[in-house]
């Protein structure tokens, strides 16, 4: 989608929130359709049918597809300056009242709600400056799935097998809590904090994009098959569909470390992105090549 007039960044951000919350990315939708095709468990088929019905109604009615409109997580890249954070925060506040979104930002101890989804470090914003056009990627992260995030500092001698076993255990032990079928984001390497960040970035990678790293692509494939053979199923009620896809990123790490992080995206893996050209005109997308 392209609106050929310049828009202020806060408006672009509000548009991204509306797009992500009301319309499931096409690649995630197709993954659900494919799962409904192969699923043999009748309870699981009912769950997938209900999810797809819900997605269609939400898009048609322009309503958020889930009542938990989550924590907005932004990845900002390209050319930007010091004003970007304030513009994003303004956009979040605008969207909270106009869509509306559920106000989710609370003080961690007093639990007092700020009322507009803006607070200290909320929304979450990551920066990666480069020489290209400004690009803002949004991931809407619900609490049910975020609460199941796992990090392990493994023994490097465990190698690939230990990594895969940890990912498998993280997904299966989460049971129905992250609203499976999930998208599994995995970070391998880096420092502990970078590892978790990579696992979240991995959730922003479309399911139909090939992993450029052959070994990681192989791990994605084998984990996908193994997880869908686990029997956990949609909502943890049993079945052949536990995950919609596995996305892995890696970075170099210290010779004595092997960090692995798992972030789960619920079936409602909501994302949207905008590229803003030099004239301030935004082009919107949701990833995926469909």
């Amino acid at each position: 989608m392209r609106i050929a007039v310049p828009e202020p960044i806060e408006q672009v951000v509000a548009n991204l929130l509306r797009l992500a919350n009301t319309k499931l990315p096409m690649d995630v939708g197709w993954a659900l359709e494919a799962a409904a095709g192969w699923e043999r468990n009748p309870v699981a088929t009912t769950q997938l049918g209900c999810i797809m019905d819900n997605v269609k109604k939400a898009e048609f009615m322009g309503r958020p597809m889930c009542q938990d409109t989550g924590t907005p997580v932004f990845f900002v890249s390209g050319r930007f300056d010091h004003t970007i954070a304030e513009s994003i925060r303004k956009g979040v506040a605008i969207a909270t009242s106009s869509i509306p979104l559920r106000p989710n930002a609370v003080d961690p101890l007093t639990r007092e709600n700020t009322g507009d989804n803006v607070g200290v470090g909320f929304p979450s914003i990551h920066y990666e400056p480069s020489d290209g056009d400004l690009r803002i990627d949004l991931l809407v992260k619900g609490a049910g799935s975020e609460n199941m995030t796992r990090l392990a500092m493994l023994n490097p001698s465990g190698g690939r097998k230990a990594v895969e076993d940890f990912v498998y255990g993280a997904v299966v032990s989460a049971r129905g809590n992250p609203c499976p079928p999930t998208v599994v984001g995995v970070g391998i390497g880096g420092t502990a904090d970078d590892c978790v960040r990579m696992s979240k970035e991995a959730l922003a990678v479309p399911l139909d994009a090939d992993n450029p790293d052959g070994e990681l692509a192989g791990m994605e494939e084998s984990l996908f098959v193994r997880l869908n053979s686990s029997g956990l199923g949609p909502m943890g009620l049993g079945g052949d569909t536990t995950v919609l896809g596995v996305r892995i990123k890696k970075a170099h790490c210290h010779t004595a470390s092997l960090p692995v992080a798992v972030s789960l995206g619920c079936w409602a893996t909501r994302r949207a992105s905008a590229t803003i050209d030099g004239d301030g005109v935004a082009t919107y997308g949701q990833g995926g090549s469909f």
Partner: protein, 183 residues
């Protein structure tokens, strides 16, 4: 299709794995409503009639509009295990016949369901629009002071579901079955 309110015999007739849809009146209750129910019961107070024998939905809905003119925008289930510690006494005090939520509840809650005659119905997590669409009418709201998400909403629903009988009144649990089958 089941008509509410459920009798004890209705609840006991359901078996794990069955899909049901509900029509009639349900009430919502989350963490704080459960806590308040127990406080009031401990003081010997009588709660509103529609709390007794009810179908309770673990849900913090998004409701637009104002008194008498409500519109339910989103009404998906919340994680039931947060209510694990308080659910059994609430089922006993109110004689609940159905608890609706996501993710299932503890074995202790299952035992109470067996003795009282109550079932746990799993709603599809995140299916907020589909479920909200089957709410025909908001009958009223109790304890609005708890805020929109935590208040006790009375919904008149038709064809509310699909819901899966995930814990029945005979000690069976679909979650326990899945657990045993995990590879």
């Amino acid at each position: 299709m089941l008509e509410l309110p459920l009798s004890e015999a209705d609840a006991r007739s359901l078996r794990v794995g069955e899909t049901v849809y509900l029509s009639g009146e349900i009430i919502t209750a989350r963490d704080r409503a459960h806590a308040r129910i127990l406080e009031r019961v401990a003081l010997g107070e009588r709660l509103p009639d529609h709390f007794y024998g009810a179908a309770v939905f673990h849900c913090g809905p998004i409701v637009a509009g104002s008194d008498g003119n409500w519109l339910v925008m989103a009404a998906g289930p919340t994680t039931s295990s947060r209510m694990d510690a308080v659910q059994a006494p609430v089922i006993e005090a109110l004689g609940l016949r159905a608890v609706i939520g996501k993710g299932g509840m503890s074995a202790d809650v299952g035992k109470t369901m067996e003795s009282v005659g109550c079932v746990y119905l799993a709603a599809t997590g995140g299916a907020a629009v589909t479920l909200a669409e089957s709410v025909n009418h908001v009958i009223g709201v109790d304890w609005a002071d708890l805020g929109m998400a935590e208040a006790v909403w009375r919904f008149r629903v038709s064809r509310f579901g699909p819901l899966i009988v995930a814990m029945d009144a005979h000690g069976n649990s679909l979650y326990a079955d899945v657990e045993r089958g995990l590879k």
